[in-house]
């Protein structure tokens, strides 16, 4: 039993349906992992559709992939990887009982990198895509080969990266809440579970992009 669980004296953040803080922490982590499994299946449905259409319409999808700008995809991949590092360091900072300023700094870096990801996407990819007439249905002026298949590819591109971006925005919201909680001294070396659990979510969103990048940008015969 934790030395803090003296009769009646529970650490901060303790919820009373639990017997002790370890049980609460275990439950929280299992809960977040279970939620991430649902996200695997959620994104997975679109990945399944993408894989099938890619196998059935390979030439169109290769052609469609050429419309994407690898340099920004790669940059964004690096941005998210750095943000995962800073997130891990933020959690570690709380776990090792550092001053809250350290944790806040790492969380702010993570937030800025996440925002940078979305900014790069919007400014260097989606906005130019609009200008170039590559947005299906709304602004579609593609005249190259395999037009219907390329349009299908772009539908998947926008749906998959759009859904991913939505998850990033939610992540930014979560980070904001964590920043406020850290500033209000809610966390300590004994209790930092919300940071850890949110970290799992953030890393998951990074992993989705780790797959989106090669699948959408790279395996399009760029040689």
């Amino acid at each position: 039993m934790s030395e803090l669980a003296a009769h009646g004296a529970h650490p901060p953040g303790f919820a009373h349906q639990y017997e002790d803080i370890e049980q609460q922490r275990d439950a929280g982590k299992l809960g977040m992992w279970t939620f991430l499994v649902t996200e695997i299946l959620f994104f997975g449905g679109m990945f399944t559709a993408y894989i099938i259409y890619r196998l059935l319409h390979l030439a169109s999808f290769i052609q469609g992939s050429h419309n994407l700008k690898v340099v920004y995809g790669a940059t964004n991949t690096a941005v998210l990887i750095v943000s995962s590092l800073t997130m891990a360091l933020a959690i570690r900072s709380a776990q090792t009982g550092r001053k809250k300023g350290t944790t806040i700094s790492w969380l702010v870096f993570t937030w800025l990198l996440g925002a940078a990801f979305i900014g790069i996407k919007l400014h260097y990819e989606w906005w130019p895509d609009w200008h170039e007439g590559l947005v299906p249905r709304f602004h579609w002026f593609y005249n190259g080969p395999h037009a219907p298949g390329v349009e299908m590819f772009m539908v998947f591109y926008f749906c998959m990266t759009g859904l991913h971006a939505m998850h990033m925005v939610v992540g930014l919201g979560i980070l904001t809440v964590l920043l406020i909680m850290t500033a209000r001294n809610k966390f300590s070396a004994e209790y930092y579970a919300p940071l850890e659990i949110s970290g799992l979510y953030w890393h998951f969103v990074d992993i989705v992009w780790i797959f989106l990048f090669p699948l959408l940008y790279l395996i399009g015969g760029r040689y």
Binding site: E19, F211, Y217, I219, Y223
Partner: protein, 120 residues
């Protein structure tokens, strides 16, 4: 019996900063590698290599950033189950989508086990 406390990690394992940095560098190297290889013609192996690199990067994030290396067996089972179920969805859907043109030719072993000649 409730699981709390029984796996002994009353304090969570603290990962050294050096480990995080190493994993981080490996992830960046993987990103550079996969981008570079995309511009080299390996035929159908381009896809395989890209996916292998992506899986490796994912494994690094899962094991070290998400602390699964230091987690219970239950956590691992949960993660594996998620991927296994995704695999079921993809595989069985493909078993239809990619076999639409397969015809049954009832001769030889195909009379006993339909489509067996397709698989070998």
């Amino acid at each position: 019996m409730s699981d709390h406390g029984e796996h002994g990690a009353h304090t969570e394992h603290i990962v050294p900063v050096s480990t995080y940095i190493l994993v981080f560098l490996a992830l960046l190297v993987g990103t550079a590698l996969t981008t570079w290889i995309a511009y080299i013609d390996l035929g159908k192996w381009n896809t395989v290599v890209a996916l292998v690199i992506a899986f490796t990067k994912m494994l690094l994030v899962v094991l070290f950033f998400m602390h699964v290396k230091y987690s219970t067996g239950l956590t691992r089972v949960v993660i594996l189950a998620g991927f296994f179920w995704l695999g079921i969805m993809i595989t069985l859907s493909c078993s239809d989508e990619l076999t639409r043109t397969w015809e049954i030719v009832p001769q030889g072993w195909n009379m006993i086990i339909p489509f067996v000649s397709r698989l070998f």
